[in-house]
């Protein structure tokens, strides 16, 4: 057993880790009995397994919750609306909740080497109905858009995330959108984490024009001057969030995202005359997690 002790002492390159190891070696390994992941109920084994898929037997964690988000009526609006946001997830017990920013698209990491992740990304952009808001009368509807693309994420250190997304829209807009963000993630204690960082978005002409351009017919119907919105820097901003795990079951979180519209989006008469280039989104939510077991 001397082998390990000597090896631990040789770890001079990383004094703090060595200290931790030695402390651990000299520690009473108190495997506390504070039950954290007690299963709420047990389900019987399913009568069959699906081909190619792993058996569902084992422990699972379900998270349910509700959140609320106050956000601009539409991009460029000076008024806001409150929207409820349901929270639901199911995963293998013990699977780790990775850091996620409020502006992140839905994504799956097909490539994961620990500090570098990449994979497909998807974002849904809700339709913009002209008859819902007085500022939009005469501009016509913009259908819902579905943005498909990919993301890359890099952690130079565990507390700094750099993320980029590139997506192509179909439906309401057919342009290209690029998002870049950085987040400093500071765990104050294990249960309390705050994060903050800058954001930048670039959009192509086809992604900008449907929301900020005003053609001749729209100008006539809306009273706004004609405007040809082109590609370029769309917005720059800053976001911050805080999450606190009260106990293994309950977690609360809150966030704020500020965005300053730039370029042709900011110069659009819709924004200049009837809206605002300052866009703020505030959200908060609470979730409850419980485990169940499948035999």
């Amino acid at each position: 057993m001397m082998h390990l002790d000597e090896a631990a002492l040789r770890l001079s390159g990383n004094a703090r880790l060595t200290t931790a190891v030695l402390a651990a070696l000299g520690a009473t390994l108190a495997i506390t009995q504070s039950a954290v992941a007690q299963t709420a109920f047990t389900l019987p084994a399913p009568p069959f397994d699906l081909p190619m898929l792993p058996s569902p037997s084992g422990n699972w964690t379900v998270m349910v919750g509700i959140g609320g988000q106050y956000m601009p009526d539409f991009v460029g609006s000076k008024n806001g609306k409150l929207m409820p946001i349901p929270i639901f997830s199911i995963r293998r017990a013990g699977s780790i909740d990775q850091f996620r920013g409020p502006r992140d698209s839905a994504s799956i990491a097909l490539l994961d080497v620990g500090n570098f992740r990449a994979g497909p990304a998807f974002k849904y952009v809700a339709s913009r109905k002209a008859d819902k808001y007085a500022e939009l009368i005469g501009l016509g509807d913009v259908k819902a858009a579905y943005e498909l693309g990919g993301f890359v994420e890099y952690y130079p250190v565990d507390w700094l995330r750099l993320r980029g997304e590139l997506r192509q829209g179909i439906g309401g807009h057919t342009g290209t959108v690029a998002d870049i963000s950085a987040d400093v993630i500071v765990p104050l204690i294990q249960r309390l984490t705050i994060s903050a960082g800058p954001r930048f978005t670039w959009k192509s002409t086809k992604a900008t024009a449907p929301y900020f351009g005003v053609d001749a017919a729209q100008a006539l119907a809306s009273g706004l001057p004609m405007y040809d919105a082109k590609s370029g820097a769309h917005s720059v901003g800053f976001g911050s969030q805080i999450s606190y795990r009260i106990n293994p079951q309950w977690e609360v979180h809150a966030y704020v995202e500020y965005e300053k519209l730039l370029g042709d989006a900011a110069d659009s008469p819709l924004v200049k005359l009837r809206g605002s280039s300052n866009q703020t989104t505030v959200g908060l939510g609470a979730s409850y997690s419980f485990d169940f077991r499948i035999r």
């Binding site: 990383n14 520690a27 495997i31």
Partner: protein
């Protein structure tokens, strides 16, 4: 038109149900047909030391040799004890380092599409051949914090602004490999125990209390790892329907 659509949906559902039933029959009947098994264990040669949370730039994981702990021999003993009520367990000879060297690809779809590397190794490296099944226990991986992976046996430290948290882990996965076709009948990573603590990992782990010093620390560390394995192995085998638990 609508009726035809419903017919197609019904047909697809029936195909899925039949396929699922067939798969169930295959897996269940394969397990029931197993009489003789051998056990391979290859998680206990080294211990990783990992930091996550508020770490310095350039902090990398390190590892220490712990072959002297004879963890793999202990795992084989424990597994034999658990399985011998139902199967005839035979001792195996194999190159442990060859099993320990295999790593999952970082590209997730590759792991789904490629042939399981362990079944090739069982076919080529394990004696005796001809048993009904081989139980292969190897290192599993989990995320720690946001940008760090930990695997196998190890000590980890999660650093925050106001406190540091130490934890010990024994992350492993179990494969049941058919002794004739060498197909993987079942594969399962050991899940977390009920006393995982405040730093979650996707496998057996527990907090390290740094409060006290003492004599024979490595024996105590080994005992904690053994405790994680001893408590998680019956649960994992139970989840895989290898034993009644």
């Amino acid at each position: 038109m609508r009726r035809i659509a419903f017919l197609w949906i019904g047909l697809a559902a029936a195909c899925v149900a039949l396929g699922a039933a067939a798969a169930f029959e295959t897996r269940a009947s394969r397990l029931q047909a197993i009489k003789t098994v051998g056990i391979v264990s290859a998680i206990g040669e080294e211990m990783s030391l990992t930091q996550a949370g508020l770490t310095r730039l350039g902090t990398t994981a390190q590892s220490l040799p712990i072959g002297a702990w004879a963890l793999d021999e202990l795992i084989v003993q424990q597994a034999t004890r658990l399985l011998e009520g139902r199967f005839r367990v035979q001792p195996l000879t194999y190159r442990r380092a060859a099993f320990a060297a295999i790593r999952d690809s970082a590209v997730a779809p590759v792991n789904l599409l490629r042939s399981d590397p362990f079944k090739e190794l069982v076919r080529s490296d394990v004696t005796p051949q001809g048993l009904d099944a081989y139980i292969v226990i190897t290192r599993a991986r989990s995320k720690l914090g946001n940008g760090r992976n930990v695997e196998g046996v190890g000590l980890a430290e999660y650093r925050t602004l106001l406190a540091d948290y130490g934890l010990i882990h024994a992350l492993y996965e179990v494969r049941i490999i058919d002794g004739k076709s060498f197909n993987v009948i079942e594969k399962r990573a050991a899940g977390p125990l009920d006393n995982t603590g405040t730093v979650p990992l996707a496998g057996p782990s527990g907090p390290v209390d740094e409060a006290l010093g003492g004599s024979a620390p490595s024996e105590r560390l080994r005992a904690a790892v053994v405790d994680l394995i001893t408590r998680s192995l019956p649960v994992t085998f139970g989840d895989m329907h290898l034993i009644g638990g």
